[in-house]
Symmetry: C2
Subunit: 347 residues, 2 copies
Amino acid sequence: VINFASQLLFYETFPQNLFDFEKDLLIIDQWVDQQYPAIAKKFKYVYRVQAGESLKSLTAFAQHVEAVLDLWDQPLSRNHCVVSCGGGSVGDFSGFLASILKRGLRLVQCPTTWLSAIDSAHGGKTALNVKSVKNQVGTFYPAESVLLIKELLQQQGPERAQEGLGELIKVALTDQPSFFHELTKNPELKHEDIIWQNLERAIQAKNKIVLQDPFETKGLRKILNFGHTLGHVIEAHYQVSHGESVLQGLYFAIEWSAKCGLLPEAQSKVIFQSFEKMKLQSWLETNQFIPMKLARVQQLVMFDKKITSDAKIDFVFLADFGLAKVMPVTLPEFLSEVHRQGWAVDV
Amino acid sequence: VINFASQLLFYETFPQNLFDFEKDLLIIDQWVDQQYPAIAKKFKYVYRVQAGESLKSLTAFAQHVEAVLDLWDQPLSRNHCVVSCGGGSVGDFSGFLASILKRGLRLVQCPTTWLSAIDSAHGGKTALNVKSVKNQVGTFYPAESVLLIKELLQQQGPERAQEGLGELIKVALTDQPSFFHELTKNPELKHEDIIWQNLERAIQAKNKIVLQDPFETKGLRKILNFGHTLGHVIEAHYQVSHGESVLQGLYFAIEWSAKCGLLPEAQSKVIFQSFEKMKLQSWLETNQFIPMKLARVQQLVMFDKKITSDAKIDFVFLADFGLAKVMPVTLPEFLSEVHRQGWAVDV
């Protein structure tokens, strides 16, 4: 039995007494280490990594494992703990490493980006990339606990907080109706304060879905892909951040849900007005995106979903606050809506 | 919840209707493939490997994954099945691969050596090596089912059957008292017939232990290391087969158990007489082993157990038929017994 609901530990600053600093291994994003050298100073065993997709390369993985094993000058046993301190790529890498060393060491995630604090540090998915294909290998290996450290997270600046709102809004819209209203009731607050105040609820909302479908066998976990179908296409084509892409993807999915009569017009209006009040609308409009070619969208979505052109896409629509619906759409249906909303032109 | 008791399927020849030959991936030892080309001919997707420890190298692993993914010309999903057809190294490799591709494909083991049919195909351990250190990474990933195919297994010849008896006797001695008596009651039979007749019981005896301690957290699973402490040293130093080494290790452990008064003299006599009747004694005596240096034994056992010289070894003693006892011994205690039994000399 694997426990998919990691213990959540909220701290103002990095905790003094949680780890065995003589024994546990800290894997830390070197950028975070530069900002907060005090964390690595506590640990005897420290492995510094450069965050980003290249860290998740399977080809480079053997060298990382050898370097980590060389670090340890004591017999490695399964009760050693890996502490991952970084964003999504560092968490994916560390989690996978911890899951296979000695067939599984203990694992604690300490996300340092809002995106990972809200989303990727939870739910137990670890992953590496094979050649350019993301997350082709991985394990289900939830962390024992996830540390949410205010001081570390607030270090990121307003742009990162804005990006984090994408995943936060995603999960709020698919959770109980009250969550989205709670999230948007004080739109004048700083984005990082909105996230910090709603962080625990967002994590629990995600975990609720994960616990119903931990190994992604029932389709339920697909709800978490809300906003991500077009989101991934935008992220890959325009090379913009994951958070911004997801927010664009949410707009797209909500607009589509309204257009096909699934989501009442009044509801989509409330959502879009909240976005405006939170100044997300204006943020998204700063980028002037040149529409993609339809063939390019098709190529990217097929690659992302690893599907053939005659396969259906499980698209996440919204029918009401708290009511996401996963429905199969054909590739032409998806492309036609992408075209209608102005993201793509013919040819 | 992971099911550690794989379904056991006994067949005379390779089954015709068990797999989706258009979809499942066969990973096969190329030597087995040469003997039995009919198996690979059934499958659309076949990956041929060279058995042996080099197959388990983590450094080479990324290339294997890329080659396997290149093979598939359809979208890979988690209900694709990996069928592993080979001995221990092939099973370890295929099992690990299956456990991490898309975070876990379906897995069927089809062991082709007696050793893997009795032991390594069961219990859910997969493993790769890091540099020269065996099984440093891996997963707990039991096969859905294990195929035991008489025709394939009997292909191996008498030497391999003799080797298989080591693991079979190990598990029989630690199971119910009746098992060892059953196993040895017709010592004149061909070794392969003895194994085939007792195979299911041996597997179930192992699974019984595994199910009580699937993730090796309670120490119980250590019983399965009976005979393996000196066994691994002998295997590494004299470069003899795993089966022969384990049998030598069993002799050593039984002799030590008797010497320290744990196992009644009468019992050890019965065991050793059975070995003689099964012509194992004479087999083991064909090799004239030059005693090792004590320092060499120490080095090998420390490397194998990944321990420091002041650490204790959990040694598996036998107190009675069906009664293995894991007890901590110091390295000097172990070395002194190795010396006493003539496996090592001073300096």
